[in-house]
């Protein structure tokens, strides 16, 4: 188990490391002069200001020096300053990150609590009309763009029925975006769960358990569920990453004040420091969650736990 976890830690570290490289290199991939482009968005900037920014970003120095500059600043908690307002990027991000995390977690809870039981139910009733119904709903759910779902929910619940507010930051405001993100992913979860459970149900040990005279319900709960959950844990990591990605769009629909919204604005404004900071933050969050889930997996699966 130690080896397994150690391997995962190393990969995590490598991922973040590569991210920093990519992030510093990002600016150089921009066709044309990035600094000019940044300033094209704002008016009235003098050549001196442009040069100063250039020096600040280290763009006048060779790449590897830039990289070290960036990493050095990183260790000091300095992610640079926004082009627009000159605020420290790290402050901007940390202001909004909790909101995004709240959204992603809430959506995850919704997705799992709806998707898992439905998927399990469909697997149990495999081949019957219930299974088909569930699968149709699931595939419809997957096909529906989550931004559309968001608009629909917005339309009905906020505008027509007035039950929930349109935008803001309170807990009531969390409902719609979380539902949007959560429901879309619930469909994916349902399918994944069903596949995993069906895989397990076809394994030999299920026959063995039945042949011992165990009731079907117990076999499902104790044998199938346990064995089927294990691979699902790793899939949850991936799903969380998707949810973070989906949050970007959902935040924009509902004007939810998270990092996703910030990122999109930054792209329009060509505010590269924020973009860099965002990419790095995103990667780090995903990596942390993955490690967390991998650790749980290492403990649950006796094949890993005991080597």
């Amino acid at each position: 188990m130690i080896r397994f976890l150690l391997g995962k830690f190393v990969m995590a570290f490598l991922t973040v490391f590569i991210t920093t490289i990519l992030v510093t290199g990002l600016i150089h991939l921009v066709p044309g002069d990035p600094v000019q482009i940044m300033f094209a968005q704002s008016q009235g900037s003098t050549p001196e200001q442009i040069e100063e920014v250039r020096r600040n970003l280290g763009l006048d120095k060779p790449i590897y020096i830039q990289y070290f500059m960036y990493v050095e600043k990183l260790f000091q908690g300095d992610l640079g300053y926004t082009i627009r307002g000159g605020q420290p990027v790290i402050e901007v991000i940390f202001q909004r990150l909790p909101n995004t995390l709240k959204l992603a977690c809430a959506a995850m809870i919704i997705a799992i609590s709806i998707g898992l039981p439905i998927g399990f139910f469909a697997a149990y009733k495999k081949g019957t009309i219930w299974d088909t119904i569930v699968m149709i709903i699931a595939i419809a759910g997957i096909s529906m763009p989550h931004f559309w779902l968001g608009l629909i929910l917005l339309f009905f619940f906020a505008l027509q029925l007035g039950w929930l507010p349109v935008s803001g930051s309170g807990y009531m405001n969390l409902v719609l975006p979380a539902l949007t993100l959560g429901l879309s992913n619930a469909a994916i979860f349902a399918r994944l769960t069903r596949s995993s459970m069906i895989d397990v149900m076809q394994q030999d040990f299920v026959q063995t358990a039945l042949a011992k005279g165990l009731p079907k319900g117990l076999v499902l709960r104790r044998h199938v569920l346990r064995a089927g959950l294990v691979p699902l844990i790793t899939m949850m990591g991936l799903q969380f990453a998707f949810m973070m990605g989906g949050a970007i769009v959902v935040e924009n629909i509902f004007s939810w004040n998270g990092v996703g919204r910030m990122a999109v604005e930054a792209i329009f404004q060509r505010d590269y420091p924020i973009i860099q900071g965002f990419i790095l933050t995103f990667a780090v969050v995903v990596v942390i969650v993955s490690i967390f889930l991998d650790t749980i997996y290492a403990f649950i699966d006796p094949r890993i736990r005991r080597g």
């Binding site: 990969m11 763009p145 069906i198 990605g245 769009v249 990419i279």
Partner: protein
């Protein structure tokens, strides 16, 4: 019992692939939807009553009526025409994005699987890392670098999809490589290109086609998402995601502006998803339906 040998019947399960495809409900519905899509994209010029970008062909915000079957948008443009031309865009987006992803992915995957050694480790670890970035982030980063435009969005989605295709191709290729027929060919003296192009690739392709069909739907959704955010299609392109973005301000006043493009996207994606499922069952009838 030599009689048994001579009488061993040759199992002729040579049902045509298409028949198998059409006998699954998923395949049938999926194929129908996709064909409709292709037809409307191809014949949009003939089918559309108006130009999709001409403003003011009708009064603004007309709900669906006899003249404008799907109504008009905030600029008085005919929705039917916009949807029809939008289908052309959608198909092109899907095809090109998947084209980029799949070609690169297959090359990377095959290379890694066949060559092995440090190249394999390097390529696959890199894909793993890229994979953890999620497609959304990669796509977003690409657009951030290149600037918002539909072409860039397509490239972004294409690049974002590479890790997935590379990984799938790699796994499938490894499976084939381990099979005795592959080794038998090596033992006959087959050259590298023969092994890769005549043995690995054809056996990996069916899986890849299934993945690609399903991938078209993902690509369309991703591109529409980017357009929705304003990072993809720019006005006045009749791209469905962009149309959805525009509808937001007028939800109350003209709800059809939001409904129609959404249904279009959902149906398209559904069609490709079902078709992909159908392919999967048709190509390997032994595999149980998931």
């Amino acid at each position: 019992m030599s009689e048994k040998l001579n009488n061993e019947k040759l199992k002729t399960k040579n049902q045509s692939f298409f028949i198998r495809l059409l006998s699954t409900p998923n395949g049938l519905i999926g194929l129908t939807i996709v064909i409709i899509l292709i037809l409307s994209a191809g014949f949009a010029d003939f089918l559309a009553p108006f130009s999709p970008t001409k403003m003011g062909v009708g009064k603004r915000f007309l709900p669906p009526n006899l003249e404008f079957i799907l109504g008009t948008d905030e600029f008085g443009r005919d929705m039917v025409s916009r949807i029809l031309f939008g289908s052309r865009l959608t198909l092109m987006i899907g095809a090109m994005a998947v084209g980029i992803s799949m070609t690169t992915g297959i090359i990377v995957g095959l290379f890694a699987a066949y060559k092995g050694g440090w190249l394999e480790t390097l390529l696959m670890r890199s894909t793993d890392i890229l994979f953890s970035f999620t497609e959304t982030l990669i796509a977003l980063s690409c657009v951030a670098v290149l600037g918002p435009s539909l072409t860039n969005a397509v490239i972004a989605v294409g690049i974002a999809g590479i890790p997935f295709y590379a990984r799938t191709c790699y796994s499938a290729a490894l499976v084939e490589k381990a099979k005795p027929y592959f080794e038998a060919s090596i033992a006959c003296g087959a050259s590298h290109s023969r092994l890769v192009f005549m043995h690995l690739l054809p056996n990996v392709l069916p899986t890849m086609i299934v993945i690609a069909t399903l991938g078209v739907s993902t690509a369309i959704l991703a591109a529409a998402g980017l357009s929705f955010l304003g990072l993809g299609a720019q006005p006045p392109l009749p791209e469905w995601g962009y149309m959805l973005a525009g509808s937001r301000d007028y939800i109350n006043r003209a709800p059809w502006l939001m409904t129609i493009p959404g249904i279009a996207i959902a149906l398209t994606v559904l069609g490709f998803n079902l078709l992909g499922d159908g392919f999967r069952t048709a190509l390997d009838p032994v595999e149980r339906q998931r």
